[in-house]
Chain length 178, copies 2
DNA sequence: ACCTGAACACCGTTCAAGT
DNA sequence: ACCTGAACACCGTTCAAGT
């Protein structure tokens, strides 16, 4: 990869992060390119679809959440780990617009598969909670995932912010216990 | 209102229903006008914003759900009424793309306030369940609403369809009990 | 090998001109 | 009083031409 190409890629990523923080995940790709000082073709060369760009933008955060899951798996009780991790996901989703949408972005063509990463991180927590804890055995990882991102989406679009989010999460976590 | 205006309005609504069923609530307004055989200006005259159009399109279904809530309130036990009504909302949301998005459409300028209608219909069910049933007293009507539409949104975007939707709903309803 | 930016087909939205 | 449809500013996307 040529040095100017690599620099363009980095700069596009930085700009995309800023614009998406401002305008959300539907932000104009042309504007991202414009603000980064490159032609739209250059953006498309590096990120052939919007989803590829979003996956790249949120990669760091997703990896942070995955590391957190591994940590909780090693150091916390099953029920508590699930609760704390869900709360973390929620906090990230409330902070970064588009984060919750990105968490469901999957597929090998993305360069980085957010969905697969999140899924495998959460699977460990769920299986252990079902084995040792008091978690309903019939829910699968997609269910857990949908419930948490659903709460995140709801909370990010409604007034009441974190308070409401915590309440919705507590309802969901209570529902997961048997 | 002139007869041709009224006829245009009806025809636009019928066309919009069809196009939205095909393409979802983000369907092109120009295409709706085109298919209805009128200029885009005519669509805008009758429905000044997309939300006004969506509220008009889904008015019938929302009113059906409200009537159902009143019926359940009169003839069913608190817990069961809440469960049956949620299941109904879910079924409507899975059938009609854009229905769940429309349920959150509020404001007096819409001609018909879907959100207010749904909220007042569901409030009766929730209050009674909290008074007589075993429902958590700290959740409010917005919480209930968000949980149900969240499940609906999740289920409509994920494979697994109705089965998964039912499971997610049962988790949520379990979480609502104290 | 990579970038550029004009070009294309679309979109939402407006508004002067018509009937 | 209502409709028309050309027009505008934007969007995503592509691709010949450049370096």
């Amino acid at each position: 990869m040529r040095v100017d190409a690599r620099r363009n890629r980095e700069h596009l990523l930085t700009t995309a992060r800023a614009v998406i923080a401002e305008q959300g995940p539907e932000a104009s790709l042309n504007e991202i390119a414009r603000r980064a000082g490159v032609g739209p073709g250059t953006l498309y060369r590096h990120f052939p679809t919007r989803q590829v760009l979003l996956a790249a933008v949120f990669r760091d955060r997703v990896e942070t959440l995955c590391a957190r899951a591994a940590d909780l798996l090693a150091h916390t009780s099953p029920d508590e780990a699930l609760a704390l991790w869900s709360r973390d996901v929620l906090a990230h989703a409330l902070t970064d617009r588009g984060m919750s949408a990105s968490m469901t972005l999957g597929g090998a063509e993305l360069g980085f598969d957010c969905h697969a990463a999140m899924r495998s991180a959460a699977t460990g927590l769920l299986l252990r909670a079902q084995r040792e804890g008091r978690t309903r055995p019939d829910v699968d990882i997609e269910d857990l995932f949908q419930l948490v991102t659903g709460v995140a989406l709801a909370a990010s679009e409604l007034p009441g912010g974190l308070d409401r989010a915590e309440r919705l999460l507590s309802v969901t976590l209570a529902g997961l216990r048997r």
